[in-house]
Symmetry: C2
Subunit: 193 residues, 2 copies
DNA sequence: GTCTATAGCTTGATAGAC
DNA sequence: GTCTATCAAGCTATAGAC
């Protein structure tokens, strides 16, 4: 295996950062949940908490980028891809008692004005998701500018809807936003032809 | 005066919670920035940090609800109100070096799974904003259900767009989302007639 | 090289002097 | 009643034993 201990650290911190945020999660708790000894954290992440945070966010970003690409490979309709992605979040929230929202959002807001390395990392993850969506929309015939704008719009709506659903403990905002976002995308594609 | 010291605590904590989050902001820093003596915090907020957090979020919620109502009183076009609200956020971010985003969002995500009192308080604030928007959309002739859904959708897009703009240090996501949200609202109002 | 034990700080909260 | 001084517990990071 490549390095099981490092992976266990990343798994634990991904789970905890997503639910409690970056500042609210201590390294002690992360090591305890990972099952690894305390000292090995600084062996695998010499940069301490910040390096662990950046690695965790980057990995979560790549993981969901793949989910997005997998959905894009299966579905034929881009609006349907969006609805599927929202639906995945509805299910993740229901399965986790509304704990598992976006793995990046909480850290992004915390770090935006307090930790430049972490902020930059979160920004790149959001940009990668936006790009994946924009590429799919271009394939539907939208002009590059229009595709990029619609992708930002869809991503913003998704992030906000997850926040509202998680805070209210109600899948409603995600469901409603999924439908209206899909409608906006269908309209945009239709009018571009 | 009613109580200047209490107000100063709330001002300081509102500013700090918005920028650094709840877990990332210590009571020591809040008292220091408020200029009040350490002991008086527990005089005004016997419930400690949690009570201060709830009071801060509730006050911020009421404040922006008023902003929304003021915009609604001035503008004739609901889509224009939305665009104005987005624009206010663009200006707040620019004026604060991308520090002042939504005063509730960061705390909402941090507290959603860790602090029930705070989560509930954030949920009520979001609900109050949604209601204010929905009332305005009903006044435009939308059916109650459609108005409520469009209000959730607009609020979600706004919250997500603030997050993306703040993280990327770029007003683009807010600008694009403002335009597309306004378009969706105009379309919904037009087709309902 | 691995990891335990601990240093040095900061946190939220309170006892007790005034 | 007001507030200072202090508390125990948590934090991140590291020195040094194996």
């Amino acid at each position: 295996m490549t390095d099981g201990t490092r992976e266990r650290f990343l798994d634990a911190s991904a789970r905890l950062f997503r639910r409690q945020g970056y500042a609210g999660t201590g390294l002690k708790l992360i090591t305890a949940e990972s099952g690894a000894p305390w000292g090995s954290l600084y062996h695998h992440f010499p940069g301490g908490k910040e390096e662990l945070g950046v690695a965790t966010i980057t990995r979560s970003g790549r993981r969901y980028e793949k989910v997005l690409h997998n959905l894009a490979a299966e579905a034929t309709d881009t609006a349907q891809i969006i609805e599927d992605y929202f639906q995945l979040s509805v299910e993740a929230l229901a399965a986790s008692d509304y704990a598992d929202g976006c793995p990046v959002a909480t850290v992004a807001l915390e770090a935006a004005s307090t930790n430049e390395a972490l902020r930059h990392c979160c920004a790149e993850v959001f940009a990668s998701w936006q790009l994946a969506l924009a590429e799919r929309l271009e394939a539907d015939g939208l002009a590059p500018d229009a595709a990029a704008e619609l992708a930002v719009f869809a991503l913003a709506t998704f992030e906000g809807a997850v926040m509202l659903s998680r805070t209210a403990r109600d899948p409603g905002p995600l469901r409603v936003s999924a439908r209206l976002t899909a409608r906006a995308i269908r309209t945009a594609i239709a009018t571009s032809r």
